[in-house]
Symmetry: C2
Subunit: 363 residues, 2 copies
């Protein structure tokens, strides 16, 4: 099967570029001594996680949903999983408790509610769940306040039967995407200036802090070099996107959306790569191969592309778009077509796509 | 199962509101004499299509992808299907030819390439495919130019073995979303002032035009009342979204994204309804139940919600968001939870979600 034979729209992986990304991050781990815990949320694809883990330097995987944890365990990717999200809502803690016994699963908490709910689920399942205290380091999202609130929450975890205090984390999500390196460094340094003392205070309270985790693709070599940060959670680096490509990172964009030209007018063409194949929350996708072409707009099943008068684009041609945001884009598809030098070398299921609870529950 | 028991994030349907929408559109058909061909792309859910078809006034379904046609045929929803899209790309015409024999499937074309490819597939499958000439009525997307190009394409279809000229269509997609009624009417009227003469020219060339199709939710009662328009293709009306809610339409928003509050700080809370559960291409979702609350931003698995000081929102609470664009949002989920007065009365598979080619092809 060749690139031109792939039914469109389709998510296409440039395997050599992906392998170079994996190698570069593994090299960073070897050189820096910082452990990697690649974020499975970015790709949701077991075949890619296997290659990341096999490249070395990895302590396990990071997940963002219970479904991702379940897939990682079922596929035998790793037993060491950090779920960097507050697991609250009907049935969620119970699902975590069910898989916790099959590996070393550690879950973020930032509230007493979260601790109580996880403890209840662990007790009912007769298991133990690892817990990581999630500290707010400046992103307006989750995380307990550093200082006494973080210490109190860590103590509650430590003293609650069924739970095991595993570590402390903080995500500098407000820093990872800043294009300017100096600004990114300043924000990440400030964030870790909150996280590291918070972890130290927990330790000084006599509580066990097995590890301190932080970092994303944009800050991997900033946060990942800091004394006291034991592991980092980058995900996007493996396939990248046009938003991250604006940063000064040594990673290549290794995935695109392959479409077919289904209409041609003098000034534009239309592709079959619409909003259901290409996420636009970080902006429209980019075009690389067609000089002077630009995306006008995407609708549900169409992308209208403005073309220069000289363009030779014709109905039936393949046409690639380069998406702006990896995570929600990959989540739209069921498989990735892995391509090496124009040849399809694999069709990889995106096994953790969507919310698997929805595919299992019956009335 | 109650609303509060639904695992989040989840797509929730207000069944009575949906039924009122279906009834109102069926009443319009009865009153106007215009046939309905509800667009399956909006909901991709057989249970909803069944109810639309059962309400009366419908001639069949409209689809936008081959996968949607396959689901409609396999589920026995209808045998009369209009595929309002140019079906071009590896394997697509062949898939249409395979299902064409199981029903009356009509496909839009706007190019000679499209005609030749459909004819080849029909010949190879030993079947006949209905074809509708898609005319450009002002939206910068697909469609052949009206006048001689449209007549020539219709003639080519009529003279090509394996194809059957079924009708003429044009989609006034640039009009349907205009909030101002007068502007919407003017644009739709201008568009139909292109489509209707184009169809007439095809007829005058001695070619059979079985029907003329156009119209969306925003123009159903404009285009649908025009002499010469035989059927309309509205889809969004059945569940609506916040973008369409800004128009003066007699339809209610009948779907929301149910989340759980997973974090609470003094000034904000965080829900588990991120970009993978809630499409934002038409803007952030809205909040109805919590006075003074507003969406700050969505990330992959989180929605950060700014809250007034008085808010009583607590971790563990259910929290609904009202999305801006129905089609790509529904496509993110695998099922809908059908709710009537707080009770879950059904879990409906979104059977036509995604691109089913991806779930079938093996190397």
């Amino acid at each position: 099967m060749k690139l031109r034979d792939i039914p469109t729209p389709a998510l296409v992986i440039d395997v050599p570029a992906m392998e170079r990304n994996i190698r570069r991050m593994a090299d960073f781990a070897a050189e820096s001594g910082c452990l990697l815990r690649p974020h499975f949320k970015a790709v949701k694809t077991p075949e890619i996680a296997r290659r990341q883990l096999a490249a070395g330097g990895c302590v396990g995987l990071t997940c963002q949903t219970v479904g991702e944890v379940e897939v990682a365990i079922e596929e035998g990717l790793t037993t060491d999983i950090l779920l960097t999200n507050e697991i609250i809502g009907p049935g969620k803690a119970d699902r975590v408790a069910r898989v916790a016994g099959r590996g070393d699963v550690k879950v973020a908490v930032d509230s007493e509610f979260g601790v109580r709910d996880l403890a209840r689920a662990a007790r009912e399942a007769g298991t133990e769940i690892g817990v990581v205290v999630d500290v707010n380091v400046g992103l307006v999202r989750c995380g307990v306040e550093p200082g006494e609130p973080a210490v109190a929450l860590a103590r509650l975890v430590h003293e609650t039967p069924g739970l095991r205090l595993s570590g402390v984390m903080g995500y500098e999500g407000h820093a990872v995407g800043k294009e300017d390196r100096a600004e990114r460094e300043a924000l990440a340094t400030k964030a870790m200036g909150i996280l590291l003392p918070a972890a130290q205070q927990v330790r000084e309270a006599g509580l066990p802090v097995g590890f301190v985790s932080a970092g994303g693709t944009g800050t991997y070599d900033i946060t990942g070099r800091m004394e006291g940060i034991n592991e980092i959670q980058p995900g996007s680096y493996v396939l990248m996107d046009t938003a991250y490509a604006k940063l000064d990172l040594p990673f290549e964009q290794a995935f695109s959306i392959l479409g077919t030209v289904i209409h041609r007018s003098p000034g534009h063409c239309v592709l079959d790569t619409g909003l259901k194949a290409c996420a636009v929350d970080h902006g429209n996708p980019s075009i690389k191969a067609e000089e002077g072409a630009s995306v006008r707009f995407l609708s549900d099943e169409h992308a209208t592309i403005d073309l220069p008068a000289s363009s030779k684009v014709a109905v039936g041609d393949p046409f690639e778009l380069w998406p702006s945001h990896i995570d929600p884009n990959i989540n739209l598809h069921d498989v990735m077509y892995a391509v090496d030098n124009g040849e399809v070398v694999g069709i990889w299921p995106i096994s953790a796509r969507g919310y698997r609870e929805q595919r299992e529950i019956r009335l």
